[in-house]
Amino acid sequence: MKQLATIVCICLNSFWVNGQKLITRTASIGFYSDAPLEKITATNRQGVCLLDIDNNTIEAAVLMRGFEFRKTLMQEHFNENYVESHRYPKAQFKGKISSGSPQWTTDGNYDVQLEGTLTIHGETRTVRLPASIRVNKGIVSAQAEFSINVDDYKIRIPALVADNINKNIRIDIHTGDLH
């Protein structure tokens, strides 16, 4: 009987711990370059985001080849020349909620700061990102908007296309519902 109780406790504990991790495989990540000669946008709809509401940590990753561009040539240049997707297939953020206190069981919008490391093109930088967390009918979602400078990630833009690509790229992330 004692053994049975122990097993039940372990199972419940396991369920509880697992229950604190929320995930989506369909986060939308967009980026925007606004340069004098051209505006470039691309979106990836298959980002993965894992939120541990027990210890307020967050991890997100995306395949670089999964970004969809309006023009084929832009997509080819992005993958082959700039981010070198064959060498660095993933971009990744690992961090935690460093300020702000979302109430995971209370509906509302919560502004938070994320602090962690962002890895793009094989280069890792420490970043602080503003984000917003929404709890609606118990369902959690999150979004973030921030900019990066391509020089920080050793992404080289040839002088020939300097007026076509802004070195400061705006990034939008929408997780959708996390389960």
Binding site: R25, T26, S28, R45, Q46, V48, A61, V62, L63, R65, G66, E68, F69, R70, K71, T72, L73, Q75, P89, K90, G176
Partner: protein, 127 residues
């Protein structure tokens, strides 16, 4: 004359839109389960073989995300799922929540991240 032809070619390449995969021949055709198993068994080899290639896969619909135009193929017997980002505006009829069918999808393999991912996808057939 040569300059004009060259400029025309550059302009054509610059303005070219992503290919409509309904008009393209797949590099590989297989069941979604076989693709899932290959990535599960040897991710590096599968990445090498399939990333950037046009794949035609057939399998059961596990999940549909109408908002993002995504379809997940697989069932409980699959080691990993196949996630396909469909070309927006393509196949509205099948993108109803609750649709459970076997489909054939053609898409470009972009690699593996929890799921095997395809994008620019089009639905070729459904049963």
């Amino acid at each position: 004359m040569a300059i004009a032809i060259g400029a025309g070619y550059i302009l054509y390449e610059y303005r070219k839109l992503p290919a409509d995969l309904t008009e393209r021949k797949a590099d590989f055709s297989m069941s979604a389960k076989k693709l899932a198993e290959e990535f599960h068994l040897n991710e590096a080899l599968a990445e090498q073989n399939y990333t950037g290639k046009i794949l035609e896969v057939s399998g059961p619909v596990k999940e549909i995300n109408s908002e993002e135009y995504l379809m997940i193929l697989g069932d409980s017997s699959y080691p990993v799922m196949i996630s396909c980002a469909l070309k927006p505006g393509g196949e509205k009829l099948i993108l109803n929540e609750g649709t459970k069918a076997n489909v054939v999808i053609r898409g470009v393999c972009t690699g593996y991240l929890l799921d095997v991912q395809l994008n620019n996808g089009v639905i070729i057939n459904k049963n």
